[in-house]
Subunit: 244 residues, 2 copies
DNA sequence: GCTGTTCATTGATTGCGATCAATGCGCAAC
DNA sequence: GTTGCGCATTGATCGCAATCAATGAACAGC
């Protein structure tokens, strides 16, 4: 039935995009069979990244984008004066490396928070192909635009929200992203430390810890180390707003 | 000598991109004459926006990008619970509206801070043309990527910097952008109110006011209402780092 | 000219989150 | 099992920026 050839890489068996279970997340819909086959040629190789290891580092020459197949990443910016800021947490189906296009070098570090695997997408090939396939071009533009909107939402969070509101917003966001991948919206394991959460949310790790305890005391959720169990998702959403 | 036809719009005389003095800022370099001519056809029309008026509002259908020809804009996000956050200030040569591509609707409000004029770039046309002209495609991708990097820098600012450091970073950034447009790096007029600066930097307007007074007391600059005169640009850059 | 409004500055006080500090838990190495 | 280390929690205190409040300056409209 499926006549698409499955390329083999040194990493092992290659799963073509057309057969990937993350297809709805990273690929545009509405491609013809012919187009799908060409998009399959986009993926240069797979790459495994062990927990704690970098996918790329700031300053490295930018060549490729990366689509996460399995695992969990963080991206962080380190300023000249040594300050670190986690700028995002990425999970399966999400695209990394967009920040490198502008300068030709990566502008942040990307590190695996657990053993992970990514699809390497040579940017040259993507550019070529998106010139030929309208749908792919538009999809790519959408992905970049959504990244900008996401960043603006984080700016709003950092600029206007109080510690507990930030925490609630963070958890609700994670919940939704797990849910859209078919996992439970109400129970999941955090892959990052309190310190990394704090960096992302502009808080100290102690404040994150206290905030989680507080949400637990209010009965909205249970925390056990990295395990989160949300009891009242609606109330948690309300806790994102002031004067809850 | 110049055989490019100059289209006329209802707004008055059209200046073609190829003849625009902002060309280095918004257009890719290295286009052939033929390509330049086609890029000239990108601009649908000009549009004047009076001070205080919106260029677009959140929720409106996204059709076009806008390149600022003259003037000054702010973009702001308004959350469901009514919180406002200024996400950026834009000046001549910069592109607005990228946030609308992802959803097909604008995701923030864009308002003129002074009487301004923009070039309207229908997104459909840009997509088509960037499929034909590699250089244009790559330039557009770079612009989007730089926007992402810029947003990450703001996240760093909001997440890790203290009030006075934020203010210094803000002023240094403005200074550089004025300088790259041929204006003075050390004297300029702010187009935005203290409240708008505060919203952008995650501070209250009083804190902005105090911070400026403090920088003035330290002899780094002079403030007179909206007029800023920087005396020690190097020291101001140092004030962006902790323990100055 | 005066009046009203918006914006900016400055002072006094409060409160949230950072900092400092100590304890406890979980997990890997041996 | 024991040791050691990283991570999380909780308490006490401090400091910066938010808040409250009042005054002053700039500017548009009448």
């Amino acid at each position: 039935m499926n006549s698409v050839s499955i390329p083999i890489t040194t990493q092992g068996l290659q799963v073509a995009c057309s057969a990937c279970n993350l297809r709805e997340l990273c690929m545009p819909v509405g491609l013809s069979d012919d187009e799908l086959e060409r998009v399959d040629t986009l993926i240069g190789a797979r790459r495994k990244v062990a927990r704690g290891m970098p996918l790329y580092l700031s300053g490295e020459p930018f060549q490729s984008l990366y689509a996460i197949r399995t695992g969990f990443f963080k991206t962080e910016v380190i300023s000249e004066d040594g300050r670190e800021q986690v700028t995002g947490f990425q999970m399966a189906g999400e695209l990394m490396g967009l920040d490198g296009i502008g300068t030709g070098n990566h502008n942040c570090d990307a590190r695996a928070l657990e053993d992970s695997e990514v699809c390497v997408i040579p940017f040259n090939r993507l550019s070529e192909l998106s010139r030929e396939i309208d749908t792919l071009q538009h999809h790519f533009h959408k992905v970049m635009s959504r990244e900008i909107v996401r960043d603006q939402a984080v700016m709003m969070l950092l600029g206007t929200m109080r510690a507990e509101e930030r925490l609630a917003a963070f958890l609700v966001n994670l919940s939704q992203r797990f849910a859209s991948r078919g996992y439970s919206a109400t129970e999941f394991n955090l892959r990052m430390t309190r310190e990394e959460i704090g960096s992302y949310l502009g808080l100290k790790l102690e404040t994150v810890s206290r905030g989680l305890s507080r949400l637990q005391d209010e009965g909205l959720l249970s925390v056990s180390n990295k395990n989160i169990r949300i009891h009242k998702l609606d109330d948690l959403k309300k806790a994102m707003s002031p004067r809850c």
